[in-house]
């Protein structure tokens, strides 16, 4: 079971209804939240991915179980681009983080993590970080990563304010990571 914020049941609906319903449902989400669309129309996979790309949401992936498709889409605001200024000073590259000694902390949503992360990375979604900080070792070096470096920038600041000392924001982030991926989905 992959964690999502809102679920939409589009089972039994034929094209175009899965997309029509998705478009409507996603309006009710906050930016950054993940929508799970449950559908049986086989064509919905290619269409949802293409639609998400067109409108600027992030299509995370699809799993299939017993003829039912589970699609995951993260709501993005295409106007507020990913180019938000990153302020956390200490940064390192994807490669350095992968080869480094520290812990890779992946602050993307659980669904994004499930569809592919750096082997050995720990998942704490950005929204849960404040509540789950005690799971992290203050003495250890931590490389914070997300998709494009924006969420990890905020997370790195939060950690630094909480007294963590050796924190790095990993840039450019998972969007340009080409190494081995570990998945929690088939």
């Amino acid at each position: 079971m992959i964690k999502s914020d809102v679920q939409l049941d589009a089972k039994g609906l034929a094209c175009p209804m899965p997309i029509v319903k998705t478009k409507k449902a996603i309006q009710g989400l906050d930016e950054g939240q993940v929508l799970e669309v449950i559908a049986t129309d086989k064509g919905s996979k290619a269409d949802l991915a293409a639609w998400a790309k067109t409108v600027g949401h992030q299509y995370i992936g699809t799993t299939e179980e017993g003829g039912v498709l589970y699609h995951y889409i993260r709501k993005c605001n295409p106007e507020a681009s990913e180019q938000v200024e990153k302020t956390f000073e200490k940064t390192i590259s994807n490669e350095e983080a992968v080869n480094g000694e520290g812990l890779i902390l992946d602050v993307r949503e659980a669904a994004e993590f499930a569809f592919g992360h750096i082997p050995g990375a720990k998942s704490i979604p950005m929204g849960e970080l404040a509540a789950r900080m005690d799971e992290l070792d203050k003495a250890r070096t931590i490389y914070v990563i997300c998709r494009t470096g924006t969420r990890s920038d905020l997370a790195a600041q939060q950690l630094a304010e909480a007294g963590f000392t050796t924190i790095y924001n990993v840039l450019p982030g998972m969007s340009e990571y080409e190494g081995e991926l570990e998945k929690e989905v088939k």
Binding site: A14, C15, A46, D47
Partner: protein, 375 residues
């Protein structure tokens, strides 16, 4: 204004009669790029339906008002939605019933010519998929070659013609579409033939189709004779019908030649392909009319909708028959081949009788173009 439902048969008429048609294809760009309804005089606009959810105003200027407009999608749901939006905006448009799915399944029987003693030869053109099947009839009997999976089209046609189906052949084990051959044979009591070299893994009974085998139709002299012609597969066999027609299966097409790689043995079979095209076929009469099992592009259709051409003309014009150098030929048919047909491995297994998918699964497997050729 109005929305009209079009059948695949009506669209096929437009293709065969060389009529104009404006197709608004609302599938996503990849699907359109991969495979669409081809017509000599068709114009296209591809805008995915999910880009039109907020309205069709932006595309209205691009839609002609002086010719038929047909909205097409994968199954039909999205095309109905878009057609209704266009209708509300004041246009009269059609949508394709059953979408590309029904287009993929539609077969148009076209008469190729007369055989002696009142016999006839028909080509069944599957426009959406580029598959060609054949039925020769004479003296109350019929032989079918390379039947696609819509068996009722053939059994009904035979019924209308008042003929009994006696022989059903597949020129080879198909990899791009599911054969209806053995099912037609089972339903009608006809004999089903398959080349034994392609049939090593099949799990049903069949009659061996070997070089030199002949069958006669009715009391007449019409002969259907087999000619071993390997290369696309190791068993590939051609037919000469009534001394006039050469059915080449997937070995030789109008504007291309067969690819040797769909059973994973391109390197081994390229020599056979060369031998068939450059030696065996060269000994045949140039006046034979070549009837292939596929066409790849709409330009291969003749004015009457058939796909047929004199062997002599193909020797002169088909690029694949005019590669002098054997090494150049080898590399042409083994390197840089086009993508393989959708689900071709599974389709081979269906045709071997190893798996029996349901109707919908079979439709899914056959989606897309056939891609059996090298140009």
């Amino acid at each position: 204004m109005t929305v009209t439902a079009w059948t695949a048969a009506q669209v096929a008429r437009k293709v065969i009669d060389n009529k104009e048609l404006f197709i608004l294809d609302v599938r996503n760009a990849d699907a359109f790029e991969d495979w669409k309804i081809e017509g000599h005089q068709f114009e296209y606009l591809n805008i995915p339906y999910f880009e039109l959810l907020d309205g069709v105003e932006e595309i209205l200027p691009k839609i002609p008002t002086d010719k038929d407009v047909l909205v097409v999608c994968a199954k039909e749901g999205s095309s109905i939605m878009v057609a209704e939006m266009l209708s509300e905006a004041g246009l009269s448009v059609g949508y394709l019933e059953g979408g590309m799915k029904s287009w993929s399944m539609y077969l148009e029987p076209i008469k190729v010519g007369d055989l002696q003693d009142g016999g006839e030869l028909y080509q069944f053109v599957r426009l959406g998929k580029g598959c060609l099947s054949y039925m020769a009839i004479s003296g109350g009997e019929a032989a079918i070659i390379d039947a696609v999976r819509f068996t009722e089209v053939f059994t009904k046609f035979a019924e209308e013609k008042g003929v009994e189906i006696k022989h059903v052949f597949d020129t080879h084990l198909h990899a791009d579409h599911i054969s209806g051959g053995r099912h037609i044979a089972a339903q009608t009591g006809a004999t089903y033939y398959l080349p034994p070299k392609d049939a090593e893994e099949v799990v049903f009974e069949y009659a061996p189709l070997t070089d030199g085998l002949t069958v006669q139709l009715g009391a007449s002299q019409i002969e259907v004779g087999a000619l071993y012609s390997p290369g696309h597969t190791i068993g590939s066999t051609s037919f000469v019908i009534d001394g006039k027609y050469l059915l080449t299966g997937d070995i030789l097409f109008i504007d291309s030649i067969g690819r040797p790689d769909l059973a994973g043995l391109a390197e081994d079979w390229v020599g056979d392909l060369r031998e068939t095209l450059y030696s065996r076929y060269r000994t045949l009469a140039e006046d034979l009319i070549v009837l292939p099992a596929h066409f790849m592009i709409i330009e291969e259709l003749n004015e009457d909708g058939t796909v047929a051409k004199r062997l002599g003309e193909l020797f002169a014009e088909n690029h694949g028959l005019n590669v002098e150098d054997e090494e150049v030929f080898r590399s042409m048919v083994t390197d840089n081949l086009p993508p393989q047909p959708n689900a071709y491995q599974e389709i081979r297994h269906v045709n071997m009788g190893k798996i029996t998918p349901d109707h919908d699964e079979q439709t899914e497997m056959e989606i897309g173009p056939n891609r059996c050729a090298v140009r």
